[in-house]
């Protein structure tokens, strides 16, 4: 356990040390463990939908393959690339916070936010295209001129899962953008330096997690079955 002899002078030196922690190393470890535990809950939260996807994919594999006719792989691919770049810029932000480079922290955070917004805009186009083609299960889904009418019903299951998963993912992106704005405001006040960068690190973990979820969503939803030239 942390040595306690000089606990008090550590408290004086570091204003951000919370009273109930012995020293900032213990506080950072606690924050990291807490963040990882939270990410585990997110893994299981998305896990429920992945379980449903896995089951319906095995039962209705042809119906799911028929839905790839409507999935725009180019938009999905660019989105994946955009998210990977945002992960890079987020990692750079964390790195420069650890090295107390105040300017690069602000720039990379803003870069991450730009990539995030680009992702959401592309997502908006995909959703509106699906709305126009009438593929929203329940609300607007014309089973009559679905391109393989016999699979119209099972395809609704996939589109339900598609909107549930990508919707939840987009919601997490929006929350991430909110957190990033908070970080940018604090970074401009030079709040983060080598001895105190926990918020940047934790929101970085959250952002990378959201990217990992998309890394799994993209192949499972967009690259189903054999799709000739799209």
């Amino acid at each position: 356990m942390a040595e306690l002899a000089h606990a008090d002078d550590a408290a004086i030196a570091d204003p951000s040390l919370r009273h109930h922690f012995a020293n900032s190393a213990q506080q950072l470890d606690a924050a990291m463990l807490g963040m990882w535990t939270f990410l585990i809950t997110e893994v299981l939260f998305f896990g429920g939908m992945f379980t449903a996807y896995a089951i319906y994919r095995t039962i209705y594999s042809e119906a799911f393959a028929s839905t790839s006719h409507y999935m725009n792989v180019i938009l999905g691919g660019t989105n994946t690339a955009v998210l990977i770049c945002s992960s890079l810029s987020m990692a750079m932000a964390v790195r420069s916070a650890q090295l107390s480079r105040y300017k690069t922290v602000v720039i990379s955070l803003i870069l991450t936010m730009i990539f995030g917004t680009v992702f959401l805009v592309v997502k908006y186009f995909e959703y509106s295209e699906k709305w126009r083609e009438g593929l929203i299960p329940g609300i607007k889904f014309d089973t009559v001129n679905y391109h393989v009418p016999q699979y119209a019903h099972e395809a609704q299951i996939l589109f339900f899962l598609y909107f549930a998963m990508t919707g939840m993912h987009a919601l997490h992106m929006i929350v991430g953008l909110g957190l990033l704005t908070y970080l940018v405001v604090k970074a401009r006040q030079k709040a983060f330096n080598a001895s105190y960068y926990t918020p940047v690190e934790m929101i970085g973990l959250y952002w990378h997690f959201v990217d990992v979820v998309w890394i799994f969503l993209f192949p499972l939803l967009y690259l189903i079955g054999n799709r000739g030239p799209h």
Partner: protein
């Protein structure tokens, strides 16, 4: 990630490059018709990408063994859920497997023969 371990820019950019190439490969592979294998390859590539992001970007490389245990525990619980639930569906009898049929309305009492369903060729 204690403060002594900071990832170098080189390692970050190389991970980024690897992720982009892997995305290209997974899209490319999906155009080749391999039947069941398509899903397996797509998931494998996604797994590699995810572990790359976790190992370098999320700093699992430097973090304490307890954090790594937590990450592994989370993935183990996810596999428990997926494997056991889909195990049930894989081994179910044909009768009990979900099939798409709708609850049918009351019997068609009119004597007129039923026209074929609208929309079918």
């Amino acid at each position: 990630m204690t403060s002594s371990h900071i990832p170098s820019t080189k390692s970050l950019v190389s991970v980024w490059a690897a992720l982009i190439c892997l995305t290209w490969t997974t899209v490319g592979v999906s155009y080749i018709e391999l039947g069941e294998l398509n899903v397996v390859i797509a998931l494998l590539i996604a797994l590699i990408k995810a572990s790359l992001v976790a190992w370098i970007f999320m700093g699992v490389r430097f973090s304490a063994p307890m954090t790594r245990l937590f990450v592994v525990a989370g993935l183990v619980w996810l596999t428990i859920m997926i494997v056991i639930t889909s195990g049930d569906y894989a081994t179910r009898r044909y009768d009990n497997r979900p099939k798409s049929w709708t609850p049918t309305p009351p019997a068609n009492t009119s004597t007129k023969p039923i026209p074929p369903a609208v929309g079918n060729k």
